[in-house]
């Protein structure tokens, strides 16, 4: 898989707000990652880290005023960022589809769900109304919606949260996309329903070979749905690699802090270690490493320049100048700062 062209390649992507007479606000800065065909890729970070904006930039759904300032988003050889809106709309659906966090606000409340699911196939696959409805029923059945023929005629408010999210997933999958973008799809759901939805996403991706870009703040969810991940902090990719390896041996102090501050059900006696301080304001990011002010390993050199992506193992990188020093000691104990 490494030799083939990745399905999606994001390179030096900077997303921000242009301001007249002043510096641009760079919310996401020089972000790069690639997703292979069929790969399940997680993007993890806290609120304000730019993870959702990155996903929206890929989908072409950036909020008004926020734009791609530089960099490329290549999908199948084309640069999405420089593409015209109509050309882009042709891709959204049959090639790239998105599942949003809040199904109640993402679905149209006055259109029956069957019609919402059938809209994509009619427009993109050129199906007749009847054929599109048949496909909608089939897709709803695949996503585990009970009694799909009857549910076709339901409005979103008549469905439970779990069913609504299944409708969203059915909409996204109706045109068999090759890349599924998920923006915290289970955050608004109960654990039992979350489990069902995650199971569904994993099964469907495996079945159809759809690649997944999964944004979440929940480390355990990433652990269970994705094979690889990128950890974002203040608009920067601070660490990337295979999920299991990153979690077993984090090589960036922020990743490590995240893991130490989250309660782990399988290790209840471990003491939680909060990360002191707050993320910086993206409009006034400190120079150098954005995590340096909160980092217990920070030295003077950390604030001098943005740390480069260090190679820390096969397929792994960490943006920390001290990663090689502290990496080895991570499992054992402290390194003097």
């Amino acid at each position: 898989m490494e030799h083939t062209e990745p399905l999606l390649e994001v390179e030096d992507l900077t997303i921000g707000i242009r301001r007249r007479g002043r510096d641009d606000v760079r919310i996401v800065e020089d972000l790069s990652f690639a997703i292979d065909v069929g790969q399940r890729f997680g993007i993890v970070g806290e609120s304000g880290s730019g993870k959702s904006l990155t996903l929206r930039a890929i989908a072409g759904l950036l909020p008004k005023g926020v734009e791609v300032l530089s960099g490329t988003i290549r999908y199948g050889g084309q640069d999405l960022a420089g593409m015209s809106a109509p050309a882009r709309r042709k891709l959204m659906g049959p090639q790239i589809a998105m599942v949003f966090q809040e199904p109640m606000t993402a679905l149209n409340p006055v259109v029956r769900v069957g019609e919402q699911i059938a809209e994509g196939p009619r427009r993109h696959l050129g199906l007749s109304r009847a054929a599109a409805v048949d496909l909608a029923v089939e897709t709803m059945r695949r996503t585990g919606i009970p009694d799909p023929v009857r549910r076709l005629r339901a409005y979103p408010h008549e469905l439970s949260g779990g069913l609504r999210q299944r409708v969203m997933i059915a909409m996204a999958l109706s045109c068999s996309p090759r890349l599924l973008l998920c923006d915290e799809p289970t955050t608004a759901l109960d654990v039992t329903v979350q489990h069902q939805v995650l199971q569904l996403i994993e099964e469907l991706c495996e079945e159809t070979g759809t690649a997944l870009a999964f944004v979440t703040h929940d480390l355990a969810v990433v652990n269970q749905t994705c094979t690889d991940l990128a950890v974002m902090y203040s608009g920067h990719r601070v660490e990337a690699g295979p999920v299991k390896e990153v979690f077993r041996e984090p090589r960036h102090p922020y990743t490590r802090g995240l893991l130490e501050s989250a309660p782990d059900f399988d290790d209840p006696d471990r003491e939680l270690v909060p990360i002191p301080g707050f993320p910086p304001n993206v409009a006034a990011r400190p120079s150098g490493c954005p995590f340096a002010p909160r980092c217990r390993f920070a030295v003077e050199a950390c604030t001098a320049a943005m740390p480069p992506q260090e190679d820390v193992g096969p397929g792994r990188t960490a943006a920390c100048i001290r990663t090689h020093e502290i990496g080895a000691a991570v499992v054992g104990g402290e390194v003097a700062s």
């Binding site: 806290e46 009694d147 489990h195 269970q224 309660p263 059900f265």
Partner: protein
């Protein structure tokens, strides 16, 4: 962590619990429309709570968990007095609490809300918020209000300069500290926290959890902690009560409950937790279907339509909370671990992943009428595209249940 708690049954009966609910029910009556009257429709009342018995012991952290709609927030509101129960009684320290609370009862039970962005008045500074409370409840004389406010802010880890600031000047974690400061300012005995960390980022969650643990130690607070994140619950609480559709279905000490869950719903909850240790979500058994509507509670055991262990009797018998065998600790039976399931005794050593507790020819397995998932799983499953029911392919994997059966 649980060293301070006195949690065995015997000592609990000696000292009255700091808060006790007996048979608490809450029904919301909907307005009846003409159409309803013509149709003689009975779906006009929402049962949020249905005969809840719960006691909060002095100095403990009791977690209340369950899905949304299970009534856990309603119960929290009933306990704090912002919602009046339609039936049942409340006792604080052994004395009955009247529906209309006096200032002193109100002072003793305080609440922290989920969302610190909407629970603080944006136009009132932190200082005036605290001084209003301190004066209203006559906690300290007027001359000492400022000093006391500073002391309270110190308790929650904020500096003196926060006094003149407004909520909008703080981050989410700091706002939650302010909300906690407001609750503890009047020196309560009981703190009821409704999902206090759900709206916060992971790295901030830990600081607030730490704060709760410290306040419990320093102020001797008893805390009822409403939550849906079981990893958080496991970290903070001494005991856990599990709610389902307006009822408490299982109560036990935290370690005991997670080691030896006796109600099938508790099991399903535990199996649904996303984990750092497990391989993949598909390796585990998923609970099928959505919670039923509180307008239309199923007959018999209210969990039976979703329960993988349900037998015929479950459809007709409404089980009450009863003692079950205890796996951990020295506490004898009695009320150390209670569950509301007629099959609780059978479920002890059965691993839900390896052994479905029901025999394959059990009529309960072929009960299409009670399944909320597709009533015809066979046709959906025969097409290769159908999401296979989780049970069969999960039967050979049990990554996280190695420690089962220690009873």
């Amino acid at each position: 962590m649980s060293t301070t708690a006195i949690t065995n049954g015997a000592s609990a009966t000696a000292a009255p619990p700091v808060l006790r609910a007996t048979g608490v029910g809450k029904r919301y009556q909907l307005p009846t429309t003409v159409v309803d009257r013509v149709r003689r429709s009975s779906r006009t009342a929402l049962t949020a709570l249905d005969g809840v018995d719960l006691e909060l012991r002095r100095g403990e952290v009791l977690a209340l968990v369950g899905e949304s709609g299970s009534g856990k927030s309603t119960l929290a509101k009933v306990l704090v007095g912002s919602v009046t129960a339609t039936s049942g009684t409340l006792e604080a320290d052994g004395t009955p609490v009247r529906a209309k609370r006096g200032a002193d009862t109100a002072r003793r039970i305080q609440m922290v809300f989920q969302d610190p962005y909407s629970s603080l008045n944006p136009r009132i500074s932190v200082g005036s918020m605290l001084s209003e409370l301190l004066l209203l409840h006559r906690i300290v004389p007027r001359s000492e209000v400022r000093a006391e406010s500073i002391r309270i802010l110190g308790l929650v880890g904020l500096e003196e300069d926060a006094l003149d600031a407004y909520p909008s000047q703080f981050s989410g974690g700091q706002r939650q500290r302010i909300a906690i400061a407001r609750a503890i300012a009047v020196r309560p005995e009981v703190l009821i926290a409704d999902e206090p960390v759900s709206a916060l980022d992971v790295s901030v969650q830990a600081t607030i959890l730490e704060l709760f643990a410290r306040l419990r130690q320093e102020l001797g607070l008893s805390i009822l902690f409403v939550a849906h994140n079981l990893a958080v619950v496991q970290h903070l609480s001494d005991r856990v009560a599990v709610m389902y559709l307006g009822r408490i279905v299982e109560v036990a000490e935290t370690a005991e409950l997670f080691r030896n869950p006796r109600h099938p719903y508790t099991r399903a909850l535990i199996d649904s937790i996303p984990r750092m240790g497990a391989e993949s979500v598909n390796a585990r058994l998923a609970l099928q279907g959505d919670p039923p509507s509180p307008f239309d509670i199923p007959s018999g055991c209210r969990f039976h339509p979703r329960c993988p262990y349900a037998v015929d009797a479950c459809r007709t018998t409404d089980p009450a909370l009863g003692p079950v065998p205890v796996a951990l600790g020295t506490a004898p039976a009695g009320d150390a671990h209670v569950a509301a399931c007629i099959r609780a005794d059978d479920l002890g050593d059965v691993d839900p992943l390896t052994e479905p507790a029901i025999e394959p020819d059990d009529p309960a397995l072929t009960r299409p009428d009670v399944l909320l998932e597709p009533a015809d799983p066979a046709p959906a499953g025969s097409a290769a595209a159908g999401p296979a029911p989780a049970a069969p392919d999960a039967s050979d994997t049990l990554p996280h249940h190695q420690e089962e059966g220690t009873a």
